[in-house]
Amino acid sequence: MQPVTTNTNIPVHLFQTKQFKTTAVIMQCRAPLSEHTAAGRALLARVLKKGSLRYPSQSHIKEKLDDLYGASFSVDVGKRGNYHVMSFRMEFVNEQFLPAQEDLFAEATAFLAEMVHAPLAENRAFNPKIVEEEKRTLLQKINTIYDEKDRYANMRLVQEMCSAEAYSVHPLGDAHRMEALDEQKLYDVYEQFLAEDAIDVYVVGDVESYDVEAVTGPFPERSSLPPVEDSAERPPRVRYVEESDDIHQGKLQLGYRTTITQDDPQFAAMQVTNGLFGGFPHSKLFQEVREKRSLAYYAASRYESQKGLVMVMTGIEKEQYEQVKAVIGEQLQALQQEPVSEELLAQTKGMLINQIRETTDAPGGLAALHFQGKMAGRVRPIETWIEEIEQVSADDVLACANSIVLDTVFFLHGKEDKDAETTV
């Protein structure tokens, strides 16, 4: 399904469908990912969510959303390749399914525009109380990445692997720059966001016509974003990093690079390759690490197609580190040397196509697929994408597997001796 796009200052993409009981309005705002701006934008997202001139407190906001039959409203930031994306999302029930006579679409979009364009600020400064509260929450969030050991291990892998690249920046920024922000500095961040971000708005639902200006609100005219410089450098040899912590299970993460990204003609082949490597239960990693050798409960790989990374993650006994690392290496080697069987190839394609089709069964999924393509500079209609997957051959997989090179290995493990401190 393709959207109808209104090409105004801010493009609005409408997916008109009767499939859902709700309507979703999503505003995707992106800027180049940078250590200098990530903390400010992360804080801005939270402060905009917490108050506007008309809805100055969380109680006012919640009251309004509850009256819109539990409409959901969220603002958050994320990292997509080298972009820092601030997403405003609203989802609300289509009134035809409710004993209600209100025009929920008009009310909900007016609410969204209000939150973006009329924040709780005066004299070029946000409300200091909200800024302080949200700074505290974000500092806590940055600090507690450590408390979830898988997330922590992945953050550390990316920090080590991409230390000289924008991609190493965490979407919440760093504690140091977060501390330095205040209500005035944050307003500068806001003005830069209004003037410079590349913005796409998505409307998904049983909506026939709408007022574009009312949905986006009054953004100033903008020029397109400069292309993002990427300085991916391969190290002369693999980096190995270890850390210890007071935990039961070791977290092993391996970072690989590939030159194939989402705009590449081999993108679909690379997706299939990752699927065969560690994307599904029939993949090499799941079968060899878990099923055959009982070394782990999970062993999987993820393809970051905007940036060109493949990341492997698994949780293991500390003593089995060398063995697991070797088994993982052998699996990639097998994909690089032997053509994959037609049966496995077909199975992997079927699973990938199933995944893509399933994504279109959620309002947010339709918008997300389109937005991914837009960021990569190549929007594939769903059917084209599926065709590309169907045409992938065993030779394509061989070529893709040979583009994958190990860069960094990160291992977080338990301490040798619970009483003694060990530093690695």
Binding site: L98, Q249, P281, H282, Y297, E358
Partner: protein
């Protein structure tokens, strides 16, 4: 085939009971690419003492066996069932909770073939000593993973505080020690008792034609034979109404502590209207502690809670509880403040307007979830086990009154049935 229409929601649910007792529900969704099917048994981690089918004496089986069984079902003489689904373009999964084990797949094509696979693999147990031993390594790592998960530890410490003998106090996956005792024969005993068709529900939601599904299931089931069965006899423990311990603290390698307050409730005893009790409890918790409530906003602005704060209503077959909490720099102070809020609401009453808004909010959330075939199949199954339809949820939510939730606050939120679970940071966590 029975047909139940819901005009306001524009949905129709079809159902039929097979001669062997299997209950089947179909909910067609227009315009969807995907079909989601779940095959669920009314059997979970708490069912560890029962009278096996065809026997008179009760047995007690090792903790974690329902979950272990779930893992082992995916293997048969041919190999791996994940693989079979994969070749048919479907993704399969399974989960075990306190009271249920569910097997599921989603696919955008070949629903009929996949549905046969689902019915056939769950109705065909195949365990060997060797494969049982191999699984112990994998599940051992799963248990180890949860041992490092602070939120999981927080919740199970709470259950251990609340329950003295009831098996809800035991981790769903069991322990490294208990799973080591599991044998092939234990698995068969549990399987034959709890996987009888009369103890199971098949729910299919998505891009399907109801007639075709029922025909498929009828012919599939007609080819199989099952021993006759009345009902499963579970051995109930005698559990006091009060909490076992009022507090427990565990230290882990984390940087921000967590607190969870829990109440051991008696709502599961209202067996003929459990879903109503659940709606009542959810509305009470939302009114008092949901985002936008005075309690939430005050504690948030004081920095005692962050947006991890949430509340949970849990009403299961033989136990029920309410829990609330989240991350906090000061667990003891947050605990005291939450208790004050409850006490204040008990003496001064609650805000009726807020209650009405929360009802509206929960109604909207329900309708929103009807977009999801996963939600329809899993919740549809849960409602069906309670003898209701997921579409009734909207009406049930409308029946709850302000007096109802006020009464609940008075009767079930006491001192003697309350406990606190805290996960604190280890002193050397910053090393």
């Amino acid at each position: 085939m029975q047909k139940q229409q819901y005009d306001q929601l524009q949905e129709t649910v079809y159902s039929e009971v097979m001669p062997n007792g299997l209950r089947v529900y179909v909910l067609p969704k227009q315009g969807f690419s995907k079909t989601f099917a779940t095959f669920t048994t009314d059997y979970g981690s708490i069912d560890n003492a029962f009278v096996p089918i065809g026997q008179k004496q009760s047995v007690e089986v090792p903790d974690g066996i329902a979950h272990f069984l779930e893992h082992k079902m995916f293997e048969d003489e041919e190999g791996d069932v994940f693989d079979t689904f994969g070749k048919q373009g479907a993704s399969a999964n399974a989960f075990t909770s306190f009271t249920r084990t569910a097997y599921l797949f989603s696919s955008t094509d070949d629903t009929a073939v996949n549905l046969h696979t689902l019915l056939d693999f769950v109705q065909h147990p195949y365990f060997t000593e060797e494969s049982v031993e191999k699984e112990k390594g994998i599940i051992g790592q799963e248990i180890s993973m949860y041992d490092d998960d602070a939120d999981w530890r927080l919740f199970f410490q709470l259950l251990g505080n609340l329950y003295d003998r009831h098996p809800a106090r035991i981790d769903i996956a069991g322990t490294a020690e208990s799973i080591n005792r599991i044998t092939k024969d234990d698995l068969y005993t549990c399987y034959h008792t709890f996987y009888h068709p009369s103890n199971m529900i098949l729910y299919v939601a998505g891009a399907v034609e109801p007639q075709e599904i029922f025909e498929l299931v009828r012919s599939n089931q007609a080819e199989k034979e099952f021993a006759p069965m009345d009902h499963v006899e579970r051995i109930e423990v005698d559990e006091p109404a009060t909490a076992l311990h009022s507090k427990a603290v565990e230290k882990m390698s984390i940087r921000l502590p967590k607190v969870l307050l829990g109440y051991k409730l008696s709502l599961h005893n209202e067996t003929d209207n459990l879903l109503y009790q659940e709606a009542r409890l959810e509305l009470l918790l939302e009114t008092l502690f949901g985002e936008g409530s005075e309690a939430y906003e005050t504690l948030y602005s004081e920095g005692l809670i962050d947006d991890s704060f949430s509340s949970e209503a849990m009403i299961e077959r033989s136990f029920s509880l309410a829990a609330l909490g989240g991350n906090t720099p000061k667990p003891e102070e947050t605990e005291a403040r939450l208790l004050d809020i409850i006490e204040h609401a008990q003496t001064e009453g609650m805000d009726e307007q807020r209650f009405e808004r929360m009802r509206k909010k929960l109604l909207g959330q329900l309708v929103k979830q009807l977009n999801s075939t996963e939600f329809l199949a899993t919740e549809g199954t849960r409602y069906a086990f309670h003898g209701a339809s997921v579409m009734d949820a909207v009406e049930i939510m409308q029946q709850v009154t302000f007096d109802d939730i006020s009464g609940l606050l008075q009767s079930e939120f006491r001192i003697d049935n309350r406990t606190t679970s805290i996960i604190d940071q280890k002193a050397e966590a910053d090393a």
